[in-house]
C-alpha cells in the first residue's frame, strides 16, 4: 500500500502560513495547526510540515472532525510531508 496520497481538486493555492512541525510528534503538529489556523484569512491555506507518520493520517482526520478542508498532501524531498489545509470558517 502506498502511503502517498494527493488530492488535487482545485488549482493549487499558495499557503498563507507554513507551520514547521518537523521532528515533532503528534499531537503537537495538530495542536499548532488548531492554534494558528485562525491567523490566516478565511479560505486561505495553511501548510503543516510534519514527519511523524501519525500526522499523515491525523491532520486529514482533524479536518474532517473540525469541518476544515484537507486540500492536499505533498511528499517532501527530505522526508515527511507538507499537508495543506484550507480554513473554512
Amino acid at each position: 500500500m502506498s502511503r502517498w496520497q494527493a488530492k488535487q481538486e482545485e488549482a493549487p493555492q499558495a499557503p498563507a502560513l507554513t507551520i514547521d512541525a518537523l521532528g515533532k510528534k503528534c499531537p503537537i503538529p495538530i495542536i499548532w495547526l488548531a492554534e494558528q489556523i485562525n491567523q490566516v484569512p478565511m479560505n486561505s491555506v495553511v501548510s503543516v510540515l510534519a514527519d511523524d507518520p501519525a500526522a499523515f493520517t491525523d491532520i486529514p482526520a482533524w479536518c474532517r472532525l473540525k469541518s476544515h478542508k484537507h486540500v492536499a498532501t505533498f511528499e517532501l524531498p527530505e522526508g515527511g510531508w507538507a499537508i495543506h489545509v484550507r480554513r473554512n470558517y
Binding site: M1, K25, C26, P27, I30, I31, A34, D52, P53, A54, F56, T57, D58, P60, A61, W62, L65
Partner: protein, 377 residues
C-alpha cells in the same frame, strides 16, 4: 485495579484453572505412546479436541492445536498457500487484519508471491463487493478475513465474503481470535484460527482448523503431531484447560449481551461528555466487548499513564504507546485519528460500577492533559 484489556487477554476462567491443575497430574505423558499414562493423555487430548470442534462448528479431525493464535494464523496462511501453490500464488487480505496475517503475507510476498490488501471503510469493515472482486482475480490461492477487528471491534462481512470465495473456488481463512467463545463462529470458512487465552483459557494454546477437502501442506519440516499440521509435543494440560474455558464461555453467552450494553454505554457517554473526541468503529455491527475512541490534542501515552494511576488498565493504538514509531495500521487504514487513542475491552463480569467510575474520571483526565499541553478549549 480495574482490568479493561480483555481484547489482549481474558483472565483465566476458574473452570480452566481447575482443569489445568487436574490435567497437569493426569495428562503429562506423551499422547503419541501406547502405555497407560500415555493413553490417558491421548484420551484427554482427543476429548478436548472433540469439545473445541463442536463449539467452533468443525469436525474433530479438522482441528489442530498450536502454541498460539499467531502460530495458528502463520501456519494457516503459509500452509494453505503451500498446499495450493500449483493453483496460484496470489493472496488477498483485509487491510485491518491482525499483524500475524499481514506478516505472513509479507513473508509470502518476499518469497515471490503477490498480495492484494483490500481497504476498509471509516468504520473499519471491508466492502464485501470489493473483497469479492479481489478474490475473483485469477491465481488467487487464499483470502484472509477476521471475524471482528481486534482494535476497534467492527465485524467483517464474513458470510458475504465466504459466499464470494466459494463461488470463486478460493479458500477463506477466518481469523476468529476476537470472537471465538463470545459469538458463534460464522460458517463458510476453509481455514479457521483462534486463540484460547482470548476466551479465558491459558496462554500457549491456539486452534487451527482446516476443513476437509482444503489443500494444506505445512510449510515447516515434517512432523507427525497434530495431523502433520503443527510440529511439536502437544501441551495436553493447557489444551484440556482451553476446552474447559471454551465450554464455560459458550454456557454464558448472555454475558456477552450484557457486556455489549456496557460498551454502548461507554460509546454514548464518551461522545457526550468529552469534547473533541472521535468514537471509532461500527456502533452496531461490532464485537460485544471492544470500544475505541481517540481524543484530539491528547498524547496517548499520557492518557494511558493517567488512567493507570486512576486504576484502569486499558490499551492504545497510538504510536507513542506502542513499540513502533508507526501508529496502528488499523486506525491508519480507517483514516481516523490515531493519537490520543484508547481501547477499552471488557472482560466477563465487568461491573456497571467500574464502567461508571471510568466514565466519571475520564473527562477530567482528558481536560487536564489538554491543559498541560497548552490547548485551550
Amino acid at each position: 485495579m480495574v482490568y479493561f484489556d480483555a481484547a489482549s487477554t481474558e483472565p483465566l476462567r476458574p473452570q480452566a484453572r481447575e482443569a489445568l491443575l487436574e490435567a497437569l497430574d493426569a495428562g503429562w505423558a506423551d499422547p503419541a505412546r501406547l502405555y497407560g499414562s500415555a493413553r490417558r493423555a491421548r484420551l484427554s487430548l482427543e476429548q478436548a479436541r472433540a469439545e473445541v470442534a463442536e463449539e467452533l462448528g468443525a469436525r474433530p479431525d479438522e482441528i489442530s492445536f498450536t502454541t498460539s493464535g499467531t502460530q495458528a494464523v502463520h501456519l494457516g496462511v503459509l500452509g494453505t498457500l503451500h498446499g495450493r501453490r500449483r493453483t496460484g500464488r496470489h493472496l488477498v487480505v483485509g487491510a485491518v487484519e491482525h499483524s500475524s496475517v499481514l506478516h505472513a503475507a509479507g513473508l509470502h510476498e518476499r518469497a515471490g508471491g503477490s498480495v492484494e490488501t483490500v481497504g476498509v471503510s471509516r468504520t473499519g469493515a471491508v466492502l464485501a463487493e470489493v473483497f469479492a472482486a479481489a478474490v475473483a482475480a485469477p491465481g488467487t490461492a487464499l483470502a484472509c478475513l477476521q471475524t471482528a477487528n481486534h482494535e476497534v471491534g467492527t465485524l467483517q462481512p464474513i458470510t458475504e465474503v465466504a459466499a464470494a470465495c466459494r463461488e470463486a473456488g478460493v479458500p477463506l481463512l477466518v481469523d476468529a481470535a476476537q470472537t471465538a467463545g463470545r459469538l458463534p463462529v460464522p460458517g463458510g470458512w476453509s481455514v479457521l484460527a483462534a486463540s484460547a487465552h482470548k476466551w479465558g483459557g491459558p496462554a500457549g494454546v491456539g486452534v487451527l482448523a482446516v476443513r476437509k477437502g482444503t489443500r494444506f501442506r505445512s510449510p515447516l519440516p515434517e512432523d507427525e503431531r497434530e495431523g502433520r499440521r503443527v510440529p511439536g509435543f502437544e501441551n495436553v494440560p493447557a489444551i484440556v484447560a482451553a476446552a474447559a474455558a471454551l465450554r464455560a464461555s459458550a454456557a454464558e453467552r448472555d454475558e456477552q449481551a450484557r457486556l455489549s450494553k456496557l460498551v454502548e454505554r461507554i460509546r454514548d457517554t464518551v461522545a457526550r461528555t468529552i469534547p473533541d473526541v472521535e468514537v471509532i468503529g461500527d456502533p452496531a455491527a461490532r464485537a460485544p466487548h471492544i470500544v475505541t475512541f481517540s481524543c484530539l490534542y491528547v498524547e496517548g501515552e499520557a492518557l494511558l499513564g493517567e488512567l493507570d494511576k486512576a486504576g484502569f488498565s486499558v490499551s492504545s493504538g497510538s504510536s507513542c504507546t506502542a513499540s513502533t514509531l508507526r501508529p496502528s495500521h488499523v486506525l491508519e487504514a480507517m483514516g481516523v485519528l490515531t493519537h490520543g487513542n484508547v481501547r477499552v475491552s471488557l472482560p466477563r463480569g465487568t461491573s456497571v460500577t467500574d464502567v461508571d467510575r471510568f466514565l466519571a474520571v475520564l473527562p477530567d483526565i482528558v481536560r487536564r492533559i489538554r491543559l498541560e499541553a497548552g490547548v485551550s478549549s
